[in-house]
Amino acid sequence: MRENVKAKKNTVKEKLLSGREIDISIIFIAIFLSVFCLVFVYSALAFEEGASKTILKVLTLKSSDRTLIKTIVYIIVGIAGMTVFALINVDALKKKVPAIMKILTNPIPYYLISCGMFAFIEVMKHVGNDVGGESEKTAIVGAGWLLKANGAYRWIRIPGLNISFQPSEIAKFLLIICFALMIYNAGMSLEHVRGMILYLAVAAIPALMIFRCSSDMSSAIVMIGILYIMMFVAAPNLKKSLIITAALAALAFILLIGVVAVYHGKEESDIDFYQAKRVLAWLYPDEYPASADQTNQALYAIGSGGYLGEGIGNSMQKIKKLPEAQNDMIFALICEELGFAGGFIVILLYFVLIFRMYMIAQNTDDLFKRMIVVGVIAHVGLQVIINICVVTRLFPNTGIPLPLISSGGSSILFMYLELGLVLNIGKSIVRK
């Protein structure tokens, strides 16, 4: 009897998981990180006396409570999406609906959707007048289709539903699949420098669109970074890819030197090019106090947290001092409230997450699958490193969310979906 049940369970499991195991540790780590997300997003916002809003004519909630509920909803949707993505039996689908799978295995739709979203923003920017303020921080513009914050158009909003999403996060997800497919299709081209340049040119178009249409340089950098790493791993000729890397690094360095040479010495208020200000504030924080302030505040938060922190909810910096404490600066908040220990645990969790994905990437047989896992690793790794480097002044200030921890629905949702892809791929690994 008992064995019978066990056998039945096994068959269900086999069916569900197409006969293989899912890497549970990735799921657990993702959920741990989401718990961090909920605790610290709420901690960052709860003190604010934001306006209360009544939802569905019944529930009156403070803005921090609304953000919390919204984040919980996104996490649940994200976990659900991850589960679905992880469980899908791709081979079975290929047999059942070959037409759909043919479209899905073609890079063009991914590429067009990604570029299309930014083209849409560009068009809507010029179409509609401002509709009104949603809050003092964000404004609804573009005939109700866009949200604007800090002068950048980073959200597309669906007017009737009052739902907004961040196209750059979707684009990262889509382009990882897209370029994995491209490498799968045409990896041999990467043997030549010409091929690599072509690849980079194709990758640069959506990145430039993000930069141009959304004024979101950091997302553009992360995107180019992800696609570049994918290319570097895939390119058969290591010598040539190293040459390209060296050339690009030299270019970036010259650009940096150039910016410093041109702008250093000018009054802070005279510099219009804000990226230049950020670079200068990174190098010379004392000379550009206004631009350096945000990072200074983050450093004060980390420093004042000490080794064990002030305790959850006890941050002082989040009160009007640390901007975006629930978002880009959330790592500083964690360090202030949980100290060095908390920060270290977060880094450790990311390390384990990346390690698990690394193991999958190492062991998968398929080039396409390997490229997707590499893309996700690059995505998580780059965002974690850049984010933490920004708050510790190892890198010029730029707004990049900490994966799964920073508030922001699109970022959380699509990170879960990416993990779902990795889990799906992980199923096919034969354990030794």
Partner: protein
């Protein structure tokens, strides 16, 4: 060379088809063999992934090292920064200054809430940048223009020029000084701002206008009790009078509002509430004060001999005999407490006096010298001085520059303001004159050096060493016993009495009265300790003149406090203006009880003195006859004293006074009236009647107001007069009119000192 060239050409030729093919392949266009189908396991890729992983780990290690560096080496410094930033974000919540009430609860000083308009250019700039629409800046400027009348363009320019300025107080007066606006003025703007932020509002939301609370002192009765109350300056700090004396009680403590983290919900804004100042409840009765001030104004308006105000100063103090509580205190000239700086020179001084004062200041500045220099201000001409040139015997003319003239004007207005602001009753000293005779009499009786039967026969003049002392009756008042000498205020008699008392006894007693502060709770009391006699300066001549009130100075409050002890049985009360101090909820913080400082004379002496003083008013030869109010018996003592100044006594300048108490048998009130240089033709003779009449006028209204029953029958004429004044009296016996006593009342006069002729 050729090889490279041909390679290059080949490269150029090959590239387009290669790129084309690669592009097609990448996007899956056309039929191609897929790269991934062949490449199932690439060792190079696995190695590169490992390198990538190791690089990420290296980055993580660097980050952890950086974190531990920050925490270990910068932790303390950054923690200090965190706290120091918190301190600067405090907001001050203004406290309310305590109010001042009279004994009946009438508000004498309170506050109204006003608002300083603050323009937050940063907020409106940020918002308009966010929305990409400068119409929000326009909306803010438009609102300020519409409701407060600011120039729209100026506001817009300011916002554009100062996009980072989050705190600019824009409510200013003509001189650019920040002022607070009345609630009625800013209310419409406040309403408009909140209405504009409504979801359905037709107009654009108005951002960047804030209101800062501010309390502003108001005195609902304007000039009432101005010298006693004092005013507050721009910094809300008390100046003069009660406002300054009780500054610590009145001012309160400002509150603060700062970010605070509590144990549970992260944090709130912690507010340390403002502690409002304590309020004062006075002994003063505003009704009596009002009567006194009205009468002072009337008497000053009636004295219009010369082109100036009625007197230099007129002081009146009314005190309770048995407590020392001040019921009223007023010092003419008055000023408006709500506009203390608006004191016009012309109101108090004639052109001649102004010229004299300006001349004096010009001499102090050293611009002119010589005794006969005088400023001349003529129309269409700049002011100039004429100075007698001793050599030529002609007048030299000294012209004034505009700067010098401005300086003189400033000096003059400062001088006048100081004169008006200070409390004549406690800050000015003068020679008390004959009122001091009551003190001398009491000293003599109490020490036993004088007895009531001591008498003097006055023939109008007495010579003391090198001086000649005249009686006010040129040919002698005749004198009499001690009582009659006081009644007639005979100077020669008191020169004799003074010497009889002797220097030691005189000094021992008078040190209780003169040259010490009474301790009244008002700012600005002077002691005049350098203006009284001591053992070295009091010689025979001085003793003689001091005994009738000449040669030394005193303040009004010293005189009335001392005199009070003489007639109330010898108890010297500390005079008090404030009855109690209460906090903002009305709870008593401090009760100020009547305080007896010392016993000055015995009860029997006091009784005799009361009788003598009643004589001053009642006797047909009494100098204070005109002070008797209808229906009451009072006692008192007159005083006339010449003003002492540079070069001895000033010709024709007198201070007249009358000290009185009522009702006569059982004194409840004591009043002292002093008129400094009354504006009448002859100040020396008859001037004291101005003080007597002022006394009578005040008593006539104040005694019925205090429900003190009338004791004396009224004549029909008096009854009519009372009715005219609106004072209705019951249980009055109307008595047949008796023929007026037509004997001329000899006006008393100071002992004029005539220097020996030789």
């Amino acid at each position: 060379m050729d090889e490279i060239k041909s390679k290059f050409i080949q490269f150029i030729k090959e590239t387009p088809p290669f790129l084309m093919a690669s592009f097609k392949r990448m996007f899956g266009l056309g039929k191609f063999g897929k790269y991934g189908e062949k490449d199932n396991k690439s060792n190079q890729q696995v190695a590169l992934i490992r390198v990538l992983f190791l690089l990420l780990i290296a980055c993580f290690v660097v980050i952890v090292l950086r974190l531990s560096y920050i925490v270990s080496f910068k932790g303390e410094e950054y923690k200090r920064m965190v706290y120091s930033q918190r301190q600067t974000s405090d907001i001050v919540i203004p406290c309310e200054r305590g109010s001042i009430y009279d004994a009946k609860g009438t508000v004498l000083a309170s506050n109204i809430k006003k608002y300083i308009v603050v323009l937050d250019a940063k907020q409106v700039t940020d918002y308009s940048k966010q929305m990409g629409n400068s119409a929000y800046i326009e909306a803010t400027a438009e609102a300020l223009n519409q409701y407060l009348g600011y120039d729209k363009q100026q506001i817009v320019d300011f916002i554009y020029n100062n996009p980072k300025d989050a705190y600019e107080r824009i409510s200013k007066d003509e001189n650019g000084k920040v002022i607070a606006l009345d609630a009625e003025t800013v209310r419409p703007l406040m309403d408009a701002i909140s209405a504009s932020k409504d979801k359905n509002s037709p107009v654009k939301p108005i951002y960047g206008i804030q209101f800062e609370d501010s309390y502003s002192r108001v005195y609902p009765n304007n000039t009432l009790a101005c010298d006693m109350l004092g005013y507050v300056n721009d910094g809300n700090v008390g100046m003069y009078g009660l406002e300054q004396y009780y500054e610590e009680e009145l001012k309160g403590v400002n509150g603060r509002s700062f970010g605070y983290i509590n144990d549970y919900t992260n944090l709130e804004r912690q507010i340390v509430p403002a502690k409002n100042g304590n309020s004062l409840i006075l002994n003063v009765d505003a009704s009596i004060q009002r009567i006194v001030e009205r009468k002072i104004i009337e008497v000053n308006e009636s004295m219009d001999y010369e082109d100036r105000s009625g007197s230099y100063n007129t002081g009146v103090i009314i005190m309770e005999c048995d407590t020392g509580n001040v019921l009223a205190m007023a010092g003419w000239p008055f000023y408006d407490l709500n506009n203390p700086r608006e004191v016009s020179v012309e109101k108090y001084y004639s052109t001649k006096q102004i010229n004299e004062l300006m001349t004096k200041f010009a001499k102090q500045e050293g611009w002119v010298n010589g005794v006969s220099s005088n400023i001349f201000i003529e129309e269409d001409k700049p002011p100039y001085f004429k100075i007698l040139n001793e050599e030529t015997g002609k007048d030299d003319v000294v012209m004034l520059t505009q700067e010098q003239l401005d300086k003189l004007d400033d000096d003059l207005s400062a001088y006048v303001r100081d004169g008006v602001w200070k409390n004549f009753c406690i800050s000015d000293t003068y020679e008390p004159g004959s009122v001091a005779k009551a003190f001398t009499t009491a000293i003599g009786l109490d020490s036993g050096k004088l007895v009531p039967s001591d008498s003097y026969s006055c023939n109008g003049v007495i010579e003391i060493l090198d001086r000649t002392i005249h009686c006010s009756h040129r040919w002698g008042c005749g004198g009499g016993d001690l009582r009659m000498c006081l009644v007639k205020s005979c100077n020669p008699a008191y020169t004799v009495f003074g010497r009889k008392i002797g220097k030691e006894t005189f000094l021992e007693y008078t040190k209780d009265f003169y040259g010490i502060k009474t301790g009244i709770d008002l700012t600005g009391e002077v002691s005049a300790e350098n203006l009284v006699f001591n053992e070295k300066t009091l010689n025979t001549t001085e003793l003689s003149t001091a005994s009738f009130g000449q040669g030394f100075n005193a303040t009004m409050i010293q005189m009335i406090s001392g005199f009070n002890s003489l007639i109330n049985g010898g108890q010297y009360y500390e005079p008090h203006v404030v009855n109690k101090i209460v906090d903002e909820n009305g709870c008593i913080v401090k009760n100020i009880e009547p305080r007896i400082l010392k016993q000055t004379v015995s009860e029997s002496t006091s009784e005799k003195l009361r009788d003598y003083c009643i004589g001053v008013v009642e006797e047909s030869e009494g100098t204070g006859k005109k002070s008797r109010p209808a229906g009451y018996r009072i006692g008192g003592k007159t005083g006339t004293a010449q003003i002492s100044g540079v070069g001895g006594y000033q010709a024709g300048q007198y201070v007249v006074s009358f000290m009185s108490f009522a009702p006569a048998e059982n004194p409840q009130l004591i009043m002292y009236v002093v008129i400094d240089r009354p504006n009448i033709p002859d100040q020396s003779s008859g001037a004291v009647n101005q003080a007597c009449e002022l006394t009578r006028e005040i008593y006539t209204e104040v005694l019925p107001y205090l429900n003190i029953p009338m004791t004396e029958p009224l004549s029909e004429k008096e009854y009519e007069e009372l009715l005219e004044k609106g004072i209705y009296t019951s249980n009055i016996v109307i008595e047949e009119e008796v023929p007026e006593d037509n004997t001329d009342i000899a006006d008393e006069m100071t002992g004029e000192i005539i220097e020996p002729a030789n």
